[in-house]
């Protein structure tokens, strides 16, 4: 059975009919239908979302232990084993957060097609829609749908306002999420990069998509993200996020407020808007003090040009260093 047929028959066509039926129920407004659909889809995905949120909370709870592991083991394999062991013992699935996103993604793609097909901007697409509708009077009679919603034409490309809403809501959601994950010394540079990228690139990517896709899709994504933020806030809390942290540090200083308004400092996170550390060695993976064989060397480096007198141990001789000739 070709995948296109399965996609159309079991996802796209039912979704088209659901949207048309919702529009018929919602006074012919496609915009309200999209909002209702968003609420329904989030409600259906709620168990999965709840699981994710619980998983996030557990990660938050075990973060001190995670930090301990990061400090204790320098061998990446050992560290990874211990981390996974901790996850297992705590009943945490580190990939659990991806569930709702993965489930939502096909819906997002299908919804794009559904909006494109249902709003039917060309006469050909109206005619083509006939084959996709179920043989029920209230569905058949609902076409054409009213595509104007709150001064937004849902069949036109998303405007600046909608794009800004999508960007802001996605950024906020990412910001709250990243504020919850254990940061500071436990994060590797890769993780920090990944977080920074998630914080800015995901909203940017979706905003671009909203700008070039029908506005109906932007409406879905914006409303879905806002619901996600509310759920996250209700069930897990805002993490280290405060509204004050949205104000740039420069402005806060000028206003005479505390430079750090966040609940806890986030020195390792460069993309969090003003909380980045100015000391790369601190909060870096190199700050570990108990690494066998290389700890002192790293401590030396951290000291920069301070005298070496404090160190009483002999110079470490790792295998890597012994390869170089002495003197």
């Amino acid at each position: 059975m070709p995948i296109g047929y399965v996609w159309q028959t079991f996802l796209e066509t039912p979704l088209i009919n659901v949207m048309v039926a919702l529009s018929a129920i919602c006074f012919g407004s496609f915009g309200i239908a999209i909002l209702v659909f968003t609420v329904i889809s989030r409600a259906v995905l709620f168990p999965l979302t709840l699981r994710t949120l619980h998983s996030m909370r557990k990660i938050q709870e075990i973060s001190p232990k995670l930090q301990e592991i990061q400090k204790k083991y320098s061998d990446p394999r050992r560290r990874s084993e211990e981390t996974m062991k901790l996850y297992r013992e705590s009943g945490v699935n580190p990939l659990g957060c991806l569930g709702p996103q993965l489930v939502q993604f096909p819906i997002f793609i299908a919804l794009y097609q559904v909006i494109r097909i249902t709003v039917a901007t060309t006469p050909e697409s109206v005619v083509g829609l006939s084959n996709r509708l179920y043989d029920a009077d209230f569905i058949q009679h609902a076409i054409p749908l009213s595509t104007s919603f709150l001064f937004v034409d849902l069949q036109a490309n998303g405007g600046i306002l909608l794009t800004a809403v999508v960007f802001a809501s996605m950024w906020l959601q990412q910001r709250i999420s990243t504020g919850r994950t254990p940061s500071t010394a436990t994060q590797s540079a890769q993780q920090q990069q990944m977080q920074a990228m998630m914080l800015w690139m995901m909203p940017a990517l979706f905003s671009w998509f909203v700008l070039v896709a029908p506005a109906g899709l932007g409406l879905y994504w914006a409303s879905s993200t806002v619901i996600g933020i509310v759920l996250q806030w209700m069930f897990v809390g805002p993490g280290d996020f405060t509204w004050g942290s949205l104000v740039p540090a420069v402005v806060r200083r000028r206003l005479g407020g505390s430079p750090a308004t966040a609940r806890r400092p986030r020195p390792a996170f460069a993309g969090a808007g003003g909380n980045a550390s100015n000391h790369p060695a601190e909060g870096d993976s190199e700050a570990r003090t108990t690494d066998e064989g290389s700890g002192d060397q790293r401590q030396d480096r951290r000291r920069g040009n301070r005298p070496r007198a404090r160190s009483t141990r002999p110079a470490p001789r790792s295998g890597r260093r012994r390869r170089h000739p002495r003197g």
Binding site: S130, Q190, R303, N305, R320
Partner: protein
């Protein structure tokens, strides 16, 4: 420490290694740092690449989604002035062709190579009058072309008229003015001689069904408002408005004082134009009536997108017969020629039916085609045009099909 050791200078690669005291330490530490930093950079680079991969994948997926948007192609019906046939063979391009001995010869095309105008698509049937061809295109342009040369009329000093809105509906023509309804619902009168345009009515919804005109009154079907309006052709004043339960997509047909409307609520209705559009009768079918109903031989023939063709009594609205095929979807208007009702399916199924009983006389299948445009009765045969710009000749009495190909 070696006595001849040079004072240490910070390495440009590892400036933070300035605390070294010996040459050995200096040497080995800076090498260590170079190596370590290189490794770190490599790790960061690898991390950045790994982080970028999902985004690139997402970007590719989202970009893939934006493809496949259906561009307007147009379904303008071909028309003839007896010498040439004017037909859209590719979206947004009108061609004048001559058909002789099974071959198609193109005389001209508009826009021609070098013309800056882009018509996008043509839905409205061209109007031929006095050696001029009038075209209203989806781009919003209304053009008057010399039928002999295919060039825009010089008397239209401003060139093609741009109405700033998409045009789908076939305009009406009263001999001196074109009445053009737009996608926004505006109604314009365009002077056929000079090209001067006047807005008769401001719009509030899409008008896609062809404008009907009789005795100084224009009839418009509003898709979004689901209304039929009668408007004074001189002033644009509203005479009457009738709300339907479904939107009108097919062209409006006048039959005496009755206005026949096929709509998306799976109904054909007859409105009394003499009684402010009051409904005379309503006939319910099994699907949308996107094809313009044919009023001929004392019957209304209407086809649906769900495989049925109906013959309906024009006075009472009662069904006379029904012809049904599951895989038949009809957008093109049925045609009556040589005593045979020819029904053309979108996917290439062509049926010849007995207009009195609906009994099939013949059936032909054209492969690999899509037909949306109304057929043209030309030299005793029906001329069909496919969405790929292929012309097909169908003999109505025998059902013989000749694929003429594209214009040479």
């Amino acid at each position: 420490m070696s006595p001849d050791a040079q004072p240490w200078r910070p390495s440009p690669v590892a400036p933070h290694a300035a605390g070294a005291r010996t040459g050995f330490h200096r040497e080995s530490r800076s090498v260590f740092h170079v190596k370590h930093r290189t490794h770190r950079r490599l790790r960061l680079r690898r991390g950045a690449t790994l982080a970028l991969l999902p985004f690139l994948l997402l970007l590719a997926l989202l970009s893939g989604c934006t493809h496949g948007l259906e561009a307007p192609a147009g379904w303008a019906a071909p028309v003839s002035d007896g010498q040439q046939v004017y037909v859209q063979l590719q979206p947004g391009v009108l061609s004048a062709v001559r058909i002789a001995e099974g071959t198609v010869q193109q005389r001209w095309r508009y826009p021609a190579d070098g013309d800056k105008i882009k018509l996008t698509a043509i839905y409205g049937r061209p109007i031929v009058s006095g050696g001029t061809v009038f075209v209203a295109a989806h781009s919003g342009h209304v053009v008057a072309l010399d039928a002999a040369t295919g060039r825009p009329l010089e008397s239209w000093r401003g060139g093609p008229v741009d109405l700033q809105a998409h045009i789908v509906a076939t305009p009406a023509f009263d001999g001196s003015r074109l009445y053009v309804a737009t996608d926004r619902g505006d109604l314009f009168a365009v002077d056929a001689g000079s090209g001067a345009s006047t807005r008769l009515m401001a719009g509030d919804g899409r008008v896609w069904s062809g404008v009907a005109h009789r005795d100084g009154v224009l009839y418009l079907g509003n898709l979004d408002r689901r209304t039929i309006r009668a408007v004074d052709a001189q002033t644009g004043a509203l005479r009457w408005e009738q709300t339907l339960s479904g939107a009108a997509l097919a062209d409006l047909q006048l039959d005496g004082s009755a206005l026949i409307v096929g709509s998306l609520d799976r109904a054909v209705q007859a409105l009394d134009t003499a009684a402010d559009g009051k409904e005379r009768w309503r006939f319910g079918g099994d699907g949308w009536f996107a094809a313009t109903p044919l009023v001929a031989e004392g019957a209304v023939f209407a086809a649906t997108l769900r495989g049925s063709v109906y013959a309906v009594d024009p006075v009472s609205g009662e069904q006379r017969w029904q012809f049904h095929r599951d895989d038949l979807t009809v957008r093109a208007r049925p045609a009556l020629a040589s005593g045979v009702l020819v029904v053309i399916g979108r996917k290439g199924d062509v049926f010849g039916l007995d207009p009195a009983t609906g009994t099939p006389r013949w059936h032909q299948t054209l492969t690999d085609v899509r037909i949306e445009a109304d057929p043209l009765l030309h030299n005793g045969a029906l001329l069909l045009v496919t969405t790929k710009g292929e012309l097909v000749r169908v003999a109505p009495d025998s059902g013989t099909v000749s694929r003429l190909g594209a214009a040479g």
